[in-house]
Symmetry: C2
DNA sequence: CACTTGTTATAACGAGTGTCATAGTGTAGC
DNA sequence: GCTACACTATGACACTCGTTATAACAAGTG
């Protein structure tokens, strides 16, 4: 339940901005745990030790604003971690990133997944096209980073595009499966298979099967 | 919104059992659309044209029973479809299954995903270890079917195990990404990459990287 | 007819939800 | 001092939620 805050985000002049930021990070954590409709502003505020009365001061658009900012923050956080892994580990970058995710999953006993996934799969009849936009923005950012990396590794553009989407899909799917299975087998599986797709530099056997 | 009922499920003697079954299938559909906490018994009953007063007659354990039976039904349904694809298409079986999923996604305009995923990622503090069990049962069934198929295709046991989990992870992840992106690119990506993992019969380059 | 049995109708309970209005607090600048 | 303003406290509104209790209904059986 305890959340370690590492961001030095400063925005306004006062100490309350760290309270605002803590609400965002707590919302992201609870989103990853319980889903979009599983969290309430009251609970987020309580967990963030922020006064409920002030959430509508910091987030005048209400819950959807909190959720969107949580998605953006989590997306940015994962993007910078991915970038760091890829730039410092060269051809093993993806594997290191996978293993980081693996460790985080077991650290939290499969209670936490990906907040962006949680926001992606819960439709509501009326509201919030903006949530979907924040979700696709996050996915897009990860894909761009991965795509650039794969191009640097010598893959052609088309394969880099497909492979980057495949990697992200596998990760997100494996996180879901691990939470269902309550063990790490799905993640260990993609750690065993995905790197072989990256290692293969010539993608000749791929082209003939495209439509 | 219209739900086509294809199952010939008979259980009790009366026509009301089709009402009961319709509640299950409607719950599965709404679960796939709005998530575990996004559905209410009242709404499911209304959508299934079943009287609210009788849901607690057919499902005395309440919402959790409805959800569990919906998961079981959806898991069984997907399992039999997967089995059919694999047995009638031999080495293209997975590809056919992927394309079926792809078509279903666009048919429902990315509104519907996988009900089992929805149930897998929403933790609640107190209740329902049984939901998690139903989820992992469904995943396990799919994995067994895929694993047997891959063994028949000539893969060794360890690779078949890893690859089957990778395939399921990729599909579930791609479904999530497609809903986020609101387009089919993620699914087209895994259709381009996954079959190459299946086509490769010798997994020699895989073994050296395992821990 | 009475009687059972499977099903439905209706109303209510307590709890939780997002949101808002209003009043109160503190602190910085004059 | 005092005003301005960012923030917080409190309580309320209208709503939905899962669940239960209780009564009614329909149909078959004796």
């Amino acid at each position: 339940m305890t959340l370690v805050i590492t961001s030095g985000f400063t925005f306004m002049s006062k100490a309350s901005s760290v309270g605002r930021q803590r609400v965002i990070e707590t919302a992201a954590m609870m989103l990853a745990t319980r889903g979009l409709r599983g969290i309430s502003i009251r609970e987020v505020a309580k967990a963030a030790q922020a006064p409920l009365g002030s959430t509508y001061h910091h987030f005048p658009e209400g819950k959807s604003q909190i959720v969107i900012e949580a998605i953006e923050w989590a997306g940015e956080r994962a993007a910078s971690e991915l970038k760091a892994c890829l730039s410092t580990n060269n051809e093993n970058g993806v594997r290191v990133f996978l293993e980081n995710w693996r460790n985080r999953l077991s650290k939290y006993s499969f209670q936490q997944g990906c907040p962006i996934v949680a926001a992606a799969i819960e439709n509501s009849d009326d509201d919030e096209q903006n949530i979907k936009r924040a979700v696709s923005d996050a996915f897009n950012k990860w894909q761009d980073i991965l795509c650039d990396y794969l191009l640097e590794q010598g893959h052609n553009e088309h394969y880099a595009h497909s492979l980057s989407l495949t990697i992200i899909s596998s990760i997100e799917g494996a996180v879901v499966l691990c939470r269902g299975y309550q063990n790490l087998q799905p993640f260990d599986a993609i750690i065993a298979t995905i790197p072989t797709l990256i290692a293969r530099k010539n993608s000749s056997d791929l082209r003939e099967n495209n439509e």
